[in-house]
C-alpha cells in the first residue's frame, strides 16, 4: 500500500469520484438493439439514471465503465478489444443481456463468438432478453457498491422451482 498519506487521500478522492460519478461508454457488439434501447431508456425521465451520477458519453479514453451488449460478431470483436484497451485503468465492464452472457438465441451461429468474457474480462453480467431498465440499474449499482467496499459484486442465488414446466403430450 502507499506510505505517502497524500497519495492515500488522492486515491480516496479518486475512488469517491469514480463511484459517485462514473463515466460510461456504451458499445454494441452486434445486438438486436433491444438491450441498447433499454440502456438508453435508463437515461430517460422514467428511470433517470443520471441522478446516480452515471454519464453516458462517447470516447473510451475518458471512460471508467464499458457497458457492452450483443453476442460479439467477428467483425465487432476487434473493435471491442480496441475500445477496451483504450480505456484508462482502472476500468470495469458490464455485460448486458443474454447475448453477452452466452450468445443468447444466437449461440452457435457462424458469425458469433458469444460469451463476452471470452473476449474481454467482465465484472458484472446482467441477464435478460432484454433486461428491464431496473435490472440494468441494479447491475450498475452492484458494481458501484463493490467499488465502495472493495469486494467483488455479490452473486445472487435463485432457487429453481421443483417442476419448471410440464412437457406437452406428443400429438
Amino acid at each position: 500500500m502507499n506510505n505517502n498519506p497524500m497519495q492515500e487521500i488522492i486515491d480516496k478522492v479518486m475512488n469517491w469520484a469514480r463511484i459517485n460519478s462514473p463515466w460510461a461508454i456504451h458499445f454494441n457488439s452486434g445486438s438486436c438493439n433491444g438491450c441498447d434501447i433499454e440502456i438508453l431508456a435508463t437515461l430517460t425521465p422514467r428511470y433517470d439514471v443520471e441522478r446516480f451520477g452515471i454519464k453516458l458519453q462517447g470516447s473510451p479514453r475518458h471512460a471508467d465503465v464499458l457497458i457492452a451488449t450483443g453476442p460479439v460478431t467477428l467483425q465487432a470483436k476487434e473493435r471491442l478489444v480496441r475500445i477496451y484497451e483504450q480505456m484508462p485503468s482502472p476500468k470495469f465492464v458490464i455485460a448486458v443481456g443474454s447475448c453477452a452472457l452466452s450468445g443468447g438465441v444466437f449461440d452457435g451461429c457462424y458469425n458469433v463468438v458469444g460469451d463476452l468474457s471470452k473476449v474481454i474480462p467482465v465484472n458484472v453480467f446482467i441477464p435478460g432478453c432484454p433486461p428491464r431498465p431496473e435490472a440494468i440499474i441494479y447491475g450498475v449499482v452492484q458494481l458501484l457498491e463493490s467499488l465502495k467496499t472493495g469486494k467483488a459484486p455479490e452473486l445472487v442465488e435463485i432457487d429453481l422451482p421443483e417442476k419448471v414446466f410440464e412437457m406437452a403430450e406428443e400429438e
Binding site: 461508454i25 456504451h26 458499445f27 454494441n28 457488439s29 452486434g30 445486438s31 438486436c32 438493439n33 433491444g34 438491450c35 441498447d36 434501447i37 433499454e38 438508453l40 431508456a41 430517460t44 425521465p45 422514467r46 462517447g58 450483443g70 453476442p71 460478431t73 467483425q75 465487432a76 473493435r79 443468447g104 438465441v105 444466437f106 452457435g108 451461429c109 457462424y110 458469425n111 458469433v112 432478453c129 432484454p130 428491464r132 400429438e171
Partner: protein
C-alpha cells in the same frame, strides 16, 4: 457513385441507431462542404441468422427471428408465422388476428416515438428526445400488460397468439391512446413550426415520386414522396382487410414530409387501435399446428414501421425449414440516402440518415463516401452530429 475530386471524410459511425455509439462505418466523399458520393458496408451485426434457421425447428426459429431487431420484433415474428401457417394450411382464428394487429400497431407507435426522439437528438433537440421517450413509456407499459415484456413480446404462436385482451386491458389501452393523442398534437406542432426543426428539414433531401419508385423506396420514406406503397393497404394480411388503414402520403418528398407522414401515421394507429378494441371478435386464440410442416415455398410480406418486410420460407416436410430469407425495409431505403446525399451539405447527413429511420440490426449498415484524393479525416458520429447542429445554429 464515385466522384472525381474531393476530400475524403471517413466518418466511422457506429451503432445501429445513430444516437447509440456502435459499430458501423460511414464514409462520405466531400468536396469542400458538399457531399459527392456515399456507399454502404454492413457487417457488424451480421449474426448468420438465415443459416441458423435451417438447423432449428419452426418454434425455435420463431423466437430467434423475433430477435433480429429489438424495435420491430413483433413484425418479424408475425411475418414468419403467417408464412408458416400458409405452408401448414391452417388459418389463425379471427380473434388472434385482431390481437396480432393490435400488437403491430402498438409497436408502430413505440417505434415512431422512438425514432422521433432519436431524430430530435440528432437535430440537437435533446428536450424533445426526453419527452418522446417518456411518452413512449406509456406504450411500453401497455405492451407489458399485454405480454409480460417491454421488448420482444413473443405474442405469436404458430397457429395463433398466446395472450388475450380483457376489458381491463382494453380500458387502459384506450386511456393510453387518449393521452398519446394529446401529446402527438404537440409533436406535430414542433415538427412543422419550430424554426430549428424546419430549418433543417424543409426542402432537404427532396425526392420526387418517380425517383422514389426507381430507387425502390418503401415505407414512410416512399409515402412521403407520394408513392402509394403500404402492404397493409396493397396486400392486407392478418385482419387489415377488416380494419382498414388510411393510406397516408405527402407530396413534398423532403425530410419534413417524412416527419409529417410518420406523425400522421401515429394518429391513424390510435384510431385503428380504438376500432379494433371495439370490434374485436370473440373466439379461440389458437388452432392446432403440426410439428412437421409440409413441403412448399411461401412468401410473406408485412408492413414494419420502416417499410415492407419480406420473408421467403421454403419447407421440406421436416421440422426444420429448408431456407428462410429475410429482406428488411431499411436496406431498400438505404439506396435513397446514398443517392440523395450527393449534392447536399455534409451537415445535412445526420438528418438525412435519420429520415429513413435506419435500423441497423435489421441490416447492419455502413456508409462509405467515395473519394479519390488521399486526404482523409476521421470523424465520429458524434462529431458529424455536432457539426450539423453547429452549422445550422
Amino acid at each position: 457513385m464515385k466522384s472525381s475530386t474531393g476530400e475524403k471524410f471517413i466518418v466511422p459511425i457506429g451503432p445501429q441507431h445513430p444516437a447509440l455509439k456502435e459499430p458501423g462505418h460511414f464514409e462520405f466523399t466531400v468536396d469542400g462542404e458538399i457531399v459527392t458520393g456515399a456507399s454502404i458496408r454492413l457487417g457488424f451485426v451480421h449474426r448468420g441468422i438465415e443459416k441458423a434457421c435451417e438447423s432449428r425447428n419452426y418454434t425455435q426459429n420463431l423466437y430467434m427471428l423475433e430477435r433480429v431487431c429489438g424495435i420491430c420484433s413483433h413484425v418479424h415474428a408475425t411475418a414468419f408465422v403467417i408464412g408458416v401457417e400458409k405452408l401448414a394450411g391452417i388459418q389463425a382464428p379471427p380473434r388472434a388476428e385482431a390481437i396480432r394487429l393490435l400488437t403491430s400497431e402498438l409497436e408502430r407507435i413505440h417505434s415512431h416515438l422512438l425514432w422521433l426522439g432519436v431524430a430530435a437528438h440528432e437535430g440537437g433537440f435533446d428536450t424533445l428526445f426526453m419527452y418522446t421517450w417518456r411518452d413512449r413509456e406509456v406504450v411500453m407499459d401497455l405492451l407489458e400488460s399485454l405480454s409480460g415484456s417491454r421488448v420482444h413480446y413473443s405474442v405469436n404462436l404458430i397457429g395463433g397468439v398466446k395472450f388475450d385482451v380483457d376489458e381491463k386491458l382494453a380500458d387502459s389501452i384506450r386511456k393510453g391512446m387518449d393521452f398519446l393523442e394529446e401529446r402527438t398534437h404537440y409533436y406535430m406542432k414542433i415538427v412543422t413550426t419550430d424554426d430549428t426543426f424546419v430549418g433543417r428539414t424543409r426542402g432537404v433531401g427532396r425526392m420526387t415520386k418517380e425517383h422514389a419508385e426507381r430507387l425502390g423506396a418503401v415505407g414512410p420514406t416512399a409515402r412521403a414522396s407520394g408513392v402509394e406503397r403500404d402492404i397493409r393497404y396493397n396486400a392486407p394480411y392478418s385482419g387489415y382487410d377488416q380494419y382498414p388503414i388510411t393510406l397516408i402520403t405527402d407530396h413534398a418528398g423532403d425530410l419534413e414530409a417524412r416527419f409529417v407522414v410518420r406523425i400522421k401515421e401515429l394518429y391513424d394507429c390510435y384510431r385503428l387501435i380504438r376500432d379494433v378494441l371495439e370490434k374485436m371478435p370473440a373466439g379461440d386464440l389458437t388452432v392446432r399446428a403440426k410439428r412437421k410442416i409440409p413441403e412448399g415455398e411461401v412468401v410473406s410480406r408485412v408492413e414494419a414501421p420502416r417499410g415492407e418486410l419480406f420473408y421467403y420460407i421454403k419447407s421440406n416436410g421436416t421440422e426444420n425449414p429448408d431456407r428462410v430469407k429475410v429482406r428488411t425495409p431499411s436496406l431498400c431505403n438505404w439506396a435513397t440516402v446514398s443517392d440523395l446525399a450527393v449534392g447536399h451539405k455534409l451537415a445535412d447527413m445526420p438528418m438525412l440518415l435519420v429520415g429513413i429511420d435506419p435500423c441497423f440490426s435489421c441490416n447492419d449498415r455502413l456508409v462509405q463516401v467515395n473519394q479519390t484524393k488521399t486526404n482523409s479525416r476521421l470523424w465520429s458520429w458524434d462529431d458529424l452530429r455536432r457539426y450539423g447542429i453547429e452549422y445550422y445554429r
